[in-house]
Symmetry: C2
Subunit: 309 residues, 2 copies
Amino acid sequence: MINKLIEKIQKTHAPIVVGLDPMLNYVPEHIQKRAFAEYGETLEGAAEAIWQFNKEIVDATYDLIPAVKPQVAMYEQFGIEGVKAFKKTVDYCHEKGLVVIGDVKRGDIGSTSEAYAVGHLGKVKVGSQQFAGFDEDFATVNPYLGSDGIKPFIKVCKEENKGLFILVKTSNPSSGEFQDRLIDGRPLYEWVGEQVDAWGKEHMGDSYSYIGAVVGATYPEQGKVLRKLMPKTFILVPGYGAQGGRGKDLVHFFNEDGLGAIINSSRGIIAAYKQEAYAQFGSQNFAEASRQAVKDMIADIDGALQAAK
Amino acid sequence: MINKLIEKIQKTHAPIVVGLDPMLNYVPEHIQKRAFAEYGETLEGAAEAIWQFNKEIVDATYDLIPAVKPQVAMYEQFGIEGVKAFKKTVDYCHEKGLVVIGDVKRGDIGSTSEAYAVGHLGKVKVGSQQFAGFDEDFATVNPYLGSDGIKPFIKVCKEENKGLFILVKTSNPSSGEFQDRLIDGRPLYEWVGEQVDAWGKEHMGDSYSYIGAVVGATYPEQGKVLRKLMPKTFILVPGYGAQGGRGKDLVHFFNEDGLGAIINSSRGIIAAYKQEAYAQFGSQNFAEASRQAVKDMIADIDGALQAAK
């Protein structure tokens, strides 16, 4: 799957991923109204609204981008109906040929991690049959429980040709509280990064490993160090735009081959129509605003990569 | 909710929680057959089988225990149908008066953690209405992202009178890979424990905080240290039985008031009928085997607590 992701990045010239993290207040009123008219102000109505919102954004952007990253929390908040909208979104993005990174940040002890891995990336056995539960292509994983929490995910990835992005250094302000603490003179995130690199080397695609890392755009200096520490690791970089990162700050997340990183923007794309820069589209044309924001993001990152050459 | 949990522990004399983590191969064949006859060998059939299995175990044990801990991974592996069985289980346990600890190990950056918190412990707004998505009483949370990943959970707990158990030292063999690394001479888990204690002191029930910790039964020495480091923190202790812990190893997780810890057993209870010690019940009477295993666990822990007095 890492090979497919790289192929699609090369084809689109867009090392970016659109974060499908719909808050209900991002969804334009006309879509909410239509959904509520059909299903009422219910969890079903909310799920329908975010699904319709996602669908229009995917329709308006899928030809420009290699991948999407739905954040499952935004769906889980609407209970079972929300989880159904998550699955519908994953399936629809697959129909459109997109790589789907399930931002699920799961992680547990062995047999439990295996159940998560099976549910999100693999197939579960039921009697003589087997079924894919959610069927994302990649999943994000939390490393706090150590390697026996990670290995079941790797096993499923190997069997199913899927991939992981393991949290190394997250984009939020307090990520340093534990991740930056020094252990034998080096921050915890470097030790985690080193471990991700070791797992990755044993699980290679053609040029990069299918065991990737998450490193926040908001920490470009740390990104520089981690890039060198994990040369064959694809880095998923959240925090572009709304959280503060910009193209020029992100060139060090890439290798000299122009690959090795994929930059996520969520709110900056899906709620673009709410920004001054895209206000002229109006809320009726929110998806067109998202398309323009994708184009601008690609130009920003591509420009920065060209300038750094 | 911590007050309710303590009240129920005192009433049942059982500082234990039954982990409802159903693997399909724990479910006796007669239940699987009945479910598959109705729904086929499908995800729906599997979900029905684990729900019926849970229901019988809850019916056979609810009067003996204060709480259950469904592990959401075991449900997510069956996709949407599995998640429905999770919700059904949560609701049924509430009907039976049990405290429900959602073992979800979620954790993300601010707004995303908020969505998880809302979905699992709180209520989400939809237009002028609000709805509980999954409505557990406690949730387990991963601390790797630091305090801005935790605070949204705490906020929802405060509003909704719910609680958390934050991972400090997990029960699995490789938990030490990162959690035991020394920072300024002390292992990471102690730093996390200290932080849990600090969050907890600001969020007190009557005698204990509603911000609890997870510390594995398999690490009794570390449990001893953490017990002292977090005197007002309730500790959820997984790893009893199947993972190796026994009552006499666990007395140090408790305070002198006989409270402060709740010991989880999953497989040891729900799949008791598969153990030699309970084989005489037979698979038809699996729930009675679970009831006996609960009684034996309570006696083991209560005996150890009495002996330690």
